[in-house]
């Protein structure tokens, strides 16, 4: 049998490619996942999300705000320009006064296409396996590009050096001056299998306005409700795919 020039070259190429790939045969490595018994870890398949039912949120309740401050040791300086806010209460008013004002908490939306991460010059802002947008404060240089990039005003710069309160939660580090911080969806609690502090406080205040869960899990309450109910995200036009959904705005 004789082979023409083209077949020989093609076969040679195929063999070379096979030899190069065969030892590993993994074009994409599986994400590392620790299985040690005492490790809480971010699970790659998850997509944490929140649904805020504004019809159940009242203007006089600030349970989520205070729970966040105690859980994450967030100080209140009393200076409106420089205070750190991980979660804020916002009142929406209809300009034509056809609708009643709506109250809603606004926090980091943990976007799928986070602009804060894209602008970060030191890769301090990053997206974790489970979809949380977090800040590695060890790398943050305090340039504040991310604060400008975030359309939800979710980030704050720490202007002052703060001492830990006496009953500080040791699981959350106290802030150093000159870094940016924001809501983490209580990542330290999620890794332990607990809900974020604001969600827990909302349920405890008997409002149940905040529903938290895995958007990828078809059996989760949040997944079911997002399918059934009419919800929307803030500034959906920006295409950031936020993971905090609102009902009733």
């Amino acid at each position: 049998m004789t082979m023409d020039r083209r077949t020989v070259l093609g076969l040679g190429g195929a063999i070379a490619a096979g030899v190069a790939l065969a030892p590993g045969l993994h074009l994409f490595a599986a994400p590392a996942n620790s299985t040690s018994p005492d490790s809480g870890s971010a699970q790659p398949g998850k997509r944490w999300g929140m649904l805020i039912d504004t019809t159940r949120c009242s203007s006089d309740c600030t349970a989520c705000l205070s729970a966040c401050r105690t859980e994450n040791n967030v100080p209140l300086y009393g200076d409106p320009d420089r205070d750190i806010h991980w979660i804020r209460k916002v009142e929406l008013r209809d300009q034509n006064r056809r609708q009643l004002p709506v109250n809603l908490p606004v926090l980091c939306n943990h976007c799928e296409n986070p602009p804060c991460v894209h602008v970060c010059p030191t890769a301090a802002s990053f997206v974790r396996h489970d979809g949380l947008v977090l800040i590695d404060k060890h790398r943050c240089i305090g340039c504040r590009y991310c604060i400008i990039a975030c359309p939800y005003k979710a980030r704050s710069l720490v202007f002052y050096k703060t001492k830990p309160p006496r009953d500080a939660n040791p699981n959350v580090p106290i802030r150093a001056a000159g870094v940016v911080e924001k809501c983490t969806f209580c990542a330290h609690r999620l890794d332990e299998g607990k809900m974020p502090a604001c969600v827990e406080a909302c349920a405890k205040a008997d409002k149940n306005a905040m529903i938290f869960g895995d958007l990828n899990d078809p059996n989760s309450e949040i997944h079911q409700r997002l399918l059934k109910e009419k919800t929307q995200t803030i500034r959906a036009d920006l295409g950031l795919k936020p993971h905090v959904h609102y009902k009733g705005i």
Partner: protein, 116 residues
Amino acid sequence: MKSPTSLAGRLSRTSFLILVLFVAWIATPFSVQADPPQPEKAVRGPCVRDAEWMRRNHMDFLKHKREETVREGIAVKSESFLSCAGCHTSRERFCDRCHAYAAVSPNCFECHQYPK
């Protein structure tokens, strides 16, 4: 003719003496040995790694763990900063003693709390 040479001789002797004293002064820190630091003994054990290894490598170990914990979300409770305090009860008597001796000032404790 004698007096100028003797003056020069006296001068050179004085400068030699000054030189000897200066060298002795410069070399003092090397000749006087400071006592090695005595960090507090652990109240229980064993450590997450060999103690001798930890003495040399704890800073790289902590840095590695910090990357894993913060960025990958792999938080191993027993190897966390907080669990150091389970055996080494006091930051002042354990961490700070060596750090002061070695004249290093790691900024871990600017943000992280060492449980009391």
